[in-house]
Structures are given as structure tokens and as C-alpha cells.
């Protein structure tokens, strides 16, 4: 019994069409004008202060968002690219803040100058911690990172030289109140731009590809010739570097450093959430996520104000986002090939 093969042509045609859509997803042309325009816009934003009304809060929010863009992008190097979800990255936020903050308090050197140094200290610390905790993966790693926060917290709270649990007040700068935020604003802007550029570079390098391989199957990666241990620890150190830099400037901006400003679980969860919501492992994702989460948060504070309903609503938003955008906004849109060009940096 034989069956004729009349429609085999259009089956092949269908496949070919599908393959083409796959190819399109691989399209590598980038909308470079977009980040440049955005950067220019952000550089000019403080000019608003000249209009006479006080836009300090707008500046504060933008600055705050950029701070999280730095941290989330940093986190993304380990959590997104290498697939090691850390709930303990605020440890580096704290260490960065304290290293720079204490030097600032004692020597008077601005944390903006100290930030790269604080970042390096954090990178070194991250390297060492990574050597221990990166021995396990999956949930065990997540939990070990949680424990890390607790350890640092207890240690910081009991170290009296740095103020223990009560913390240290740092001097505020002498600028008039409407310009006082600008140094920090530009510092965060520079860091955010650098962090995004760096994560783009990493993602598209051999190193980034190695990390992606590690996130899927370490044994396979290892046998493909990737030095998994080194890659992972390096990723850990790099991500600690960015988070530490953000922490350094954040402390001076707040004029206060204290363990429980940095070492609250909400901060590390925010980093994770921003990445997940925006798109873990994508370049634009952490930034998109940071903007969204901070916007949501502001929205709730503005509408629901002081209430427990706020927490509830945040939880609901989070759950909905996770259910409907399991790969994050950028990731899910990309999967359905609906990602706007300006966000496609992967």
C-alpha cells in the first residue's frame, strides 16, 4: 500500500518559513541611537531644576532607579548569565558602602572617587566567597547566599569600629539643596551606563557564552573546554564589583551607613525581581525591570500609601508578572518575536 506524496512540497515550505522566523530572531542589527539618546536625555534632566520648581524628587527617583540598574545588571552577570541565583548580593552593596563610607568619614575623600576601589574590594571578596559557595548549585546556592547575608549582618552589627548596629552618619555635602543630589546623580548615571555597556560586552563574548553554557549544563560545558570554576568565580567577582560600586555611592548619598540599610533581604530580592521581571540573562532586562519595579512601588506608595495592602498588591503584581512573563518582559517578548528593536541587545 502506497500513499502519494502530493503535499510534501508545502510541508517543506512551511518549515522553511518557520526557519526564517528563527533566523530573524537572530537578527543582529542594533538600534544604537536609542541608548545614546537616552543617555543624552538623562544628562540633561537636572536642568529641570532651573525652571524654578523643585524637581528633587524626580532626580531622586531617577537616581534611585539608576542605582538599581547598576545592581541588577551586576547581579545579572552571575544570576542571569551563569544561572546562579543569589539572594545575597546585598552583601556587596554593604561592603562597598562601608569601605567607601568609612574612608569618606575618616579621610574625607568622596565616595564617588572611591567607588571603583570599593568595587574592587567587593570583587576580591566575591572571588573568595565564590570559591566556597559556587561548589553547590540550584536551591542550595540560593540558600547559602541567604545565609551569607545573615553572617555579614551579624558581623557588621557587632563590629563596633564601624558603628555596629547603629551605624555611622556621614557628612552631607555643602551644595544648596536643589543641587545637592547632582554629584550622585551623575555618578550613578555613569555607573549605570558602564554596567549596561559591560554586560552587553560580556554577553556577546566567549566568556558570556561560556556562562550561558554553565547555566544549562556544567558537565557539558566543562567537557566543551570551558573552565567552569574560573568562569563562575570570575562572574561572581564581576557582579560583586558592580553591586559594590553602587553601594559605595549610595551610602554617601543617604548620608548614613548602617547594616540594616544594606543588608535587608528586600534589596537583594529587588535585584532578583528586576532581572526576572525584565528578563534574566538579557542585557536590557535588568534596566527594564528596575524601571518597572520602582515605578510600581511609587505607584503603590502614591495610591495606597501607608498600608499593608501595598505589600499585598506588590505580591500580586509580582505573581502575575511571573505567571504571564515567565521569561521576563524582554525574554517573553523576544520569544514571541514582539520585542521592540530598541530593547534587543541579546
Amino acid at each position: 500500500m502506497m500513499v502519494t506524496t502530493d503535499n510534501s512540497q508545502d510541508i517543506i515550505a512551511q518549515r522553511r518559513a518557520y526557519n526564517e522566523t528563527l533566523m530573524q530572531a537572530q537578527d543582529k542589527t542594533r538600534a544604537t541611537w536609542f541608548p545614546i539618546a537616552l543617555l543624552a536625555l538623562l544628562i540633561l534632566l537636572p536642568l529641570l531644576q532651573l525652571t524654578g520648581t523643585n524637581y528633587n524628587y524626580v532626580i531622586h527617583l531617577t537616581l534611585y532607579t539608576m542605582c538599581y540598574v547598576v545592581m541588577a545588571s551586576g547581579w545579572n552577570i552571575l544570576g542571569g548569565f551563569a544561572g546562579y541565583i543569589s539572594l545575597g548580593h546585598n552583601v556587596f552593596f554593604a561592603v562597598g558602602g562601608y569601605v567607601a563610607g568609612m574612608l569618606f568619614a575618616r579621610l574625607g575623600i568622596s565616595t564617588i572617587i572611591l567607588a571603583p576601589f570599593a568595587g574592587l574590594v567587593c570583587a576580591a571578596l566575591g572571588y573568595v566567597i565564590g570559591l566556597i559557595t559556587l561548589r553547590v548549585r540550584g536551591p542550595s546556592f540560593i540558600i547559602s547566599s541567604l545565609a551569607l547575608v545573615m553572617i555579614f549582618r551579624i558581623a557588621f552589627e557587632n563590629w563596633h569600629f564601624i558603628g555596629g548596629a547603629a551605624g555611622v552618619a556621614l557628612p552631607a555635602n555643602g551644595l544648596p539643596v536643589e543641587w545637592a543630589k547632582l554629584p550622585y546623580y551623575y555618578a550613578f548615571l555613569a555607573m549605570a551606563a558602564f554596567a549596561l555597556w559591560a554586560s552587553y560586552k560580556i554577553k556577546h563574548s566567549k566568556f558570556g557564552m561560556g556562562l550561558r553554557a554553565i547555566s544549562v549544563d556544567e558537565i557539558k560545558a566543562e567537557s566543551a573546554g570551558i573552565d567552569t570554576r574560573f568562569y563562575k568565580v570570575l562572574a561572581f567577582a564581576l557582579s560583586a564589583f558592580f553591586v559594590g560600586m553602587a553601594g559605595a555611592v549610595w551610602g554617601e548619598y543617604l548620608t548614613y551607613i548602617r547594616p540594616n540599610i544594606f543588608l535587608v533581604i528586600l534589596i537583594s530580592v529587588n535585584m532578583v525581581l528586576m532581572c526576572i521581571l525584565g528578563g534574566k540573562g538579557t542585557v536590557a532586562g535588568p534596566a527594564v525591570g528596575a524601571i518597572l519595579i520602582i515605578a510600581f512601588n511609587e505607584f503603590f506608595v502614591a495610591t495606597l500609601g501607608a498600608s499593608t495592602v501595598n505589600i499585598l498588591a506588590t505580591g500580586v503584581i509580582m505573581a502575575i508578572a511571573l505567571i504571564f512573563f515567565p521569561l521576563g518582559l524582554v525574554g517573553t517578548l523576544a520569544r514571541h518575536r514582539k520585542l521592540p528593536r530598541i530593547l534587543n541587545w541579546d
Binding site: 523643585n54 528633587n56 545573615m150 555596629g164 548596629a165 547603629a166 551605624g167 557628612p171 552631607a172 500609601g305
Partner: protein, 401 residues
Amino acid sequence: EIKIGASLPLTGAFSIAGEKHRRGYELCVDLINERGGLLGEQVELITSDNRSDPATAINQYERFINVDQVDAVFGTFSSRLTFPVASLLAKNNFVHPVPSGGALRIYTQGHENLFYFQPDAAEYFGETLTDMIQELIPEDQRPQTAAVVAADDFFANAVEAGFLGTEVVDPADGSVVEDLSPGYLADAGIEVVYSEKWPEEGFNDWLNLANSIKRSEADLIIALTASAEEAVQLTRALQTVRAEPMMVYYSQGTQTEFYEGTGDASETITMHTSWHPAAPFEGTLAGEEFNNSDFVAAFEEAYGNAPDEDSAIPFAVCQGIEQSIRGAGSTDNAAMGEWLYGRTADDPVRTVLGTFQWDERGLPVDKPFLIAQWNGGELQFVYPTDQFEGVSELQHPKDGF
């Protein structure tokens, strides 16, 4: 319309006190509006929840000032949150009335806009207790030894520093803010036989702590914390291990929640407090006479239960700001600050916490702390005995838990 902003810890570790603070503020603002408002305008209170998180608190005051464009602010709860907020409010030249934030370091930073609405800095709490012991207890019944346990909290540490006589140091530059040695306990000839700190969060091992306290066989147990919840936990643990001190003193625990959680174990525990419902403090509100008893009555009417310290203090803060706006004739914060600084013993700010006038640091002058004691489920006011009527007798010694 006059807008006033207050960021409070409505959720998180300080939520109990935070919620009560909100009620205090709210009641006061409602009452002012009922009485025709302030400078002919209605007062709007904006509260928001800072989740007991300092960074959020800062953010919210920033928001009040820049987005909501408030005319004045009320302070937040606890030293922990007040400390960072202080710099921001100073920078923006807002009068910063502090309901709860007793640590000395807040007032030694050189801010000129601070006004503390409780008797004195936390470091000086201890003196009242030792005074009371010396005044009210016959020599042969006085405690000889003490166990001092404290939460590792800004406020509790400050109180502890006074008791134990440690130096208060500013870690930013290592300078000594104040040297409290030898400490009130040493002054009173009480030997510290045990001292211990528990971490601010995540501590569960109360029985072990209570057991250690018991084994120290101290006559006096001093437990310092900013959270009523911890006071409950410790009390229950002390009851379980059947500790037998002569006297127990807490820095927190005047709330009904404390009694609810501890029941009979609360018997004869003495508390530090800034306020007591029975204290005949005389204040004003909206230009009219408004005494402590009026406050208690108004509070009960509004919320259906009796107020405690955590609502009275913010109420007083609100009274103070209201009077300063009236006094300054506008919501110009600089003028308000000046007016507040200008208070004297004869012309003080009058609140449900009594009268206030401040020194240049922002700490009240000549204001005694109060000590209360739980007796038969009732919080009785026991010390000082000479300030007003209605002081109950101190029950001593304690008869087990």
C-alpha cells in the same frame, strides 16, 4: 490647607508602635480640624509606611517635601529610623519634631532643627531607676546585683550605655560623644553580674537567655529593647524558667499587647515611660485647653480602646507643631523652629506629655522620666512621687513570675 507628612513603620519590626503613632497623629489632626483648623485652614495629614526601613523612610520624607510639598513634617518612630531622617530634614530646613528617637548621637550631630518630645536622651534613662530605688526602697531591701540584657538596637544600646557607663562614640571619626562612666548602676552601688545582648532580628533563643539570667541570680533584671514584642518573649521565658528576681525593669512594655502576651507574669514589672494616662498633664490644642484626660477620653471615643504611650507621644508632637505654627503665624519652618527654641519654663509648649522647652541640642530641659508598674493587670504610675497626684505605691520585692 496645611499639609503635614509623617513616615511611619506601619509594617515590619516596629509595626506595633508605628501603627499607634499613626493613630496619635491622626487623632490630633482630626481634633484640630474639628476645632476649626489651623490659621484658618484645614490640616491634612499624609502618612506612609516605611516598612521599618531607614532608606525607605528617607525616601518618603524626600517625597513629602518635593512631591507632596508638605508644610511641615512629623517625626518617625525609633532612633534607628530617626537618625538618618535627621540629616535630610536638616538639609531641607524642616523643623524635625522627634516622637521617639532617644539616642544621644542623634542630637550631637549639630542639627539645629531637632526637637525631642520625650523627657530626655535614652542614655539618661537609668538615672530615674536608680533614683527610684534609692528613694522608695528601704536600704535592706534594695537590689545588690543586676543582670542587664539588651537588644542590639540603637535605642536599647543607648539606654544600656547609661546603665553600664560606657563611652558613646561617634564611629565616623572615633570621637567621644559622651562618657557615661561609671554608669548609674555603679553609682548606686549595684553590681552588674550578667550582661548580654541579643541581635536585633532573628533571635529565638529566649529560654536560653532567661536561663542564663536566672543562673546569674541577679536581684534586679534590666531588659532593654525598643520592641514590646521582645519584652513579651523575654517575660514568658523568665516565667518558664521560674526566675526569682527582686525587681524587673523594662524599657518597653507599657502597651496592652504586653499585658495580653504575658498575663500574670507582668505582675510588678516596672517600666520606663514618658507618659501615663493618670498623669495630670495640661496641654492645649487648637488654642483651647486640652489635657491628658481629654486625650484619653478622645482616644477611647475614636478608637474604642485606651491609648498608651505610643499614641500619646505623637499626639504631643502634633500639639507642639500646631503650637509652633500658631506661634510663628505661618508654616515657615525657620520661624517655627525659632519659636520652639524660644520656649521657656514659663512659656513652654504644652502637651499631653506635659510641658516642653529645649536646649540647643534639641533635648528637653528639666523633664523627669516616669516609671510605671504593672499591678493586677493595670499599669500603675509609681515614680516620681512628687510631681502629681495619683501615684501608686511601688510593689517590692517581686514575688516570682
